[in-house]
Symmetry: C3
Subunit: 408 residues, 3 copies
């Protein structure tokens, strides 16, 4: 738990972006005294206040941790109309063995190579947690709210399994879009302020890009983005990179083929972004013309010194890759142009012919669900890594839940 020092100056609520791994329940004088101060419900803001003169006692009911809607340190005083406010400043009391503070998981860009390695290390530990071992109970007493504004059963089950595998509990809303309050016009911010009162962490899927960031900046508890529309799906990106590391044994020097719908595929874009942080990476783009990788990612790769090339020959690419990352051509992206969809979807199929040229150490990945872009006879090949990849999603999510709720 991060500690705070207090000065006698005025409060700056805009700086109060503090998320505690343990839940504060500063409801009584004793706990409040550790560093939280009090303001009556009816106080004026910005009154000068000296911490040292504050003696929390019976008539200083510290009954609210929340204040100013996003309230973290102010506690209502019941001492008549006297009134306090305070300035809060982070001290350096962060334990030295804590690698970093992970507050929310919102987008791939928030991670650097070191953080990824740290997360992967925890995920690796998660793989070894046995049923009913102490490790399987580390989140006992914690409550996760899965706030899904659009259904995504696979992702939801993966998160809920992760939470329960660590002893935590879950509140589920499978279709929050029809959340009665949302339907009545409540803002996302108001919903978050309510839900954060019921839980310790929010896993949110939303249909609007940027919704996760809005939720995180409102919530005083951690928020994980489980996909926000065309925006980000950072846990998918993390599990993809983790799977490459687990399957191939390294990330530097990886030769990666991204196949299929590269224009609309959120996963391949995020994966390209993350893998660019490693050395000597080579990426091949193999896609129908109508769904080619966009220039922003290509430019980013170039600026990061990542070698990339476009190809129309899947077999040739497969013969020299470590990873073939296949994706589904999404019909819904083609609108009424079913003809274009049909042409695109059949163009690059991973089948026995691809296996025949694929190096023995290489693997085939897919974010799932798959239709016929990988034929089912490929499943029996040990290089078919996509179901292991799905399972890795569980370990990554376990790792993130642990890191956000307990820290390192």
């Amino acid at each position: 738990m991060t500690l705070f020092s207090f000065s006698t100056s005025t409060i700056n609520t805009s700086k109060l972006v503090f998320k505690t791994p343990t839940n504060f329940s500063a409801k009584d004088g004793e706990r409040c005294c550790q560093g939280f101060l009090c303001a009556s419900a009816g106080c004026l803001q910005n009154q000068p206040f000296s911490f040292k003169s504050c003696s929390l006692s019976a008539d200083l009911q510290c009954n609210k941790l929340f204040c100013h809607a996003k309230p973290l340190y102010l506690i209502n005083s019941r001492k008549g109309s006297s009134c306090y406010s305070l300035d809060v400043k982070e001290s350096s009391a962060i334990p030295t063995d804590r690698k970093f503070q992970l507050d929310d998981v919102i987008e791939s860009q928030q991670f650097d190579r070191d953080i990824l390695n740290d997360i992967f290390e925890v995920a690796r530990e998660m793989e070894n947690i046995e049923k009913n071992s102490p490790g399987s109970k580390i989140l006992q007493g914690y409550l996760m709210a899965t706030l899904f504004y659009e259904p995504s059963t696979r992702t939801r089950l993966s998160f809920e399994s992760a939470m329960k595998r660590l002893g935590g509990e879950v509140l589920t809303t499978e279709n929050a879009r029809e959340f009665s309050s949302a339907a009545k016009g409540e803002t996302l911010e108001d919903t978050i302020r309510t839900v954060e009162g019921y839980s310790d962490i929010i896993v949110m899927r939303h249909f609007e890009s940027g919704a996760a960031r809005r939720a995180a900046s409102t919530a005083s508890i951690p928020v994980i983005n489980a996909g926000d529309g065309p925006g980000q799906h950072p846990t998918q990106a993390l599990l993809d990179v983790y799977t490459i590391a687990r399957e191939i044994g390294r990330l530097d020097g990886i030769r990666l083929a991204l196949v299929g719908d590269l224009a609309n595929g959120r996963t391949v874009r995020s994966l390209a972004y993350l893998i660019a942080m490693y050395k000597d990476v080579k990426i091949y783009f193999v896609s129908p013309d109508v769904v080619k990788m966009k220039d922003d990612i290509k430019d980013h790769l170039t600026s990061m010194g990542v070698e990339w090339e476009e190809s129309t020959d899947l077999l040739e690419v497969a013969s020299k890759c470590d990873v073939v990352y296949q994706t589904r051509i999404q019909r819904e992206r083609f609108g009424e142009r079913i003809d274009l969809y049909e042409a695109a979807r059949g163009k690059y199929i991973v089948d026995q012919k691809v296996l025949d040229v694929l190096p023995k150490h290489a693997v085939i990945m897919h974010p799932l669900p798959r239709l016929d872009e990988i034929t089912t006879d490929v499943d029996a090949d040990p290089r078919a890594a996509y179901f292991r990849q799905a399972k890795n999603g569980l370990y990554i999510r376990m790792a993130l839940l642990k890191l956000l709720l307990l820290g390192w």
Copy 2:
């Protein structure tokens, strides 16, 4: 656990409204002997029977606690065709330290001032329960069924969080209206008889007024009404009163403004009803003409000696109130008269101007969701109590679950 004495007279099943805080599982002779008697599956009712002559043994299989559909004390005998029934009468074996027995939570009217104070005392304890403390496990092993015939995610999550914060478990039906059985024409009573077999307490939301009472009179386990149509929503009423007590520090002498849709608002009607039990209360009604408070509540207040007045000047009222309770104008109540709706909704807004005149110790409450009847700049003011109010719903529900399942 309430004990029973037995006479040799006949049974009167209509009197059997007994709900045990601990679950009876009188499946074997030993436990039955404590006060439960036996009747063969094929017995005739109303045969004379002497308790003392009953020796429960191997061939008297006490395999059913239930009998006569709402069966509580009769247990099937397998001893040929001999047959028993009994009269059951409550003894005075209620522990003296139990304040009262709370069997169900159906409507606001069931509470008096003393019971409210007792519930609030327990709610206050709930605020202090820490993660993984003994208090957080008091409902371990208990199972709550949330039987929601219409969606209300906020209320459902609040109850489920309350149950889980106390170590209990939850069975969820988010849309019981499409419960396959209900859709096939099953009665509510039959559904309740099935669900009570799977759980220890039922939290029900229904679209029909009176449904909660029907469920409670059918169920042998406690039922909490989480809103039944235009009828009651007693836990909302409790949390509203609790919030006033917590924020202002008292209930006697409170000056309360009820603002917005007072004609259709279930919450303001219940709140007015409950607050009338306290002394020297003054209520101001501030609402557009089309949604004024109805006469039944006004008459009730008058009969209880509660002073009330109607006003069209929100600022003037706000300047002399302890609590401004704002509500949403519900569009769905206006049918096609969108013009009336638009006129009504914009009339009384809580904004900075209201804050400017509101006493420093006063608070603004709202049952949520809010649209624009409270402007978002109000949120930052410490007197904006509505998110704290939502959180109080958690504590009230924790208290009720504890009281119904464990008693005092």
Copy 3:
């Protein structure tokens, strides 16, 4: 846990139908060494391999238990390109006190009389499990996925209650048909391969006959069929037979009337099938002409030496039966012929007149939901067993979950 011996011959994956009651997490060398062998991700199948020469060490990362899509014993080696495979053969290391290995619950036909008796014995133990007793925690740490492709709240709640009453946890998908992946065209097999990564047992309801079998043959964890379309609903059949045994005290020599929709009723067909395994059984079919019992069941009964007859006189049949099993006439089976439906549904009603002739020891059963085919005044009679029958479903499902996850 079943043990395995290994030979140096080649692997036969088709034989690998092995489900462990405890979950394998052979992620590290130590555990793998107990009997699991390794194959590199890129290995060729069917290479000769000697178990004894395999020393699992740091560079033999046993990171995957899964291989060949349905992977159970092969573990990836990272030792260059060397490659192993193996033949797996069940040893006789099955504990002698284990009566039999229950792998999945797919259809009534999989049970014989001995297995039924064993299951009923466990169900009987389940009736006596008390809250917070050791017995109520035997499935702690286990995770059940309820994968319902069509809603069946009653069945779902019964399974989820069973799991939670034993200390287990649940992942719920109330409407898997709209599972985003299924909606996008994912096969059932792919969905199962994903979900089995998140859970320890799958309870599946599906709209297609045979779906449960497909799921079970894909999954490496146990699968319970909670109804697959017009196909099977084996747990209902088990609870029906269990209820007869509990209510009447025996199954041999039982006189059973099956009433109502015998043509379409999945439950009566399964019940007739199971009861035929007992001695001296007599079955009466009482149904409107349009929904008579089909010849396949009649022929089966005859071949099993079960006496049966058709009757149009419910009262006469009821007067000489041990069990009257009433069913609902399903409107949906009649299409537009509402006239036929109306005629059929009113024909055989269980009411006071039936009670008047029913033997005192006999019982009335019904799979629920009921409409008016049993009048509500019957509920108060101790011979009305249908709500006890529903409760027995809980005990049967608790027993199956225990047997599938822990064994005897």
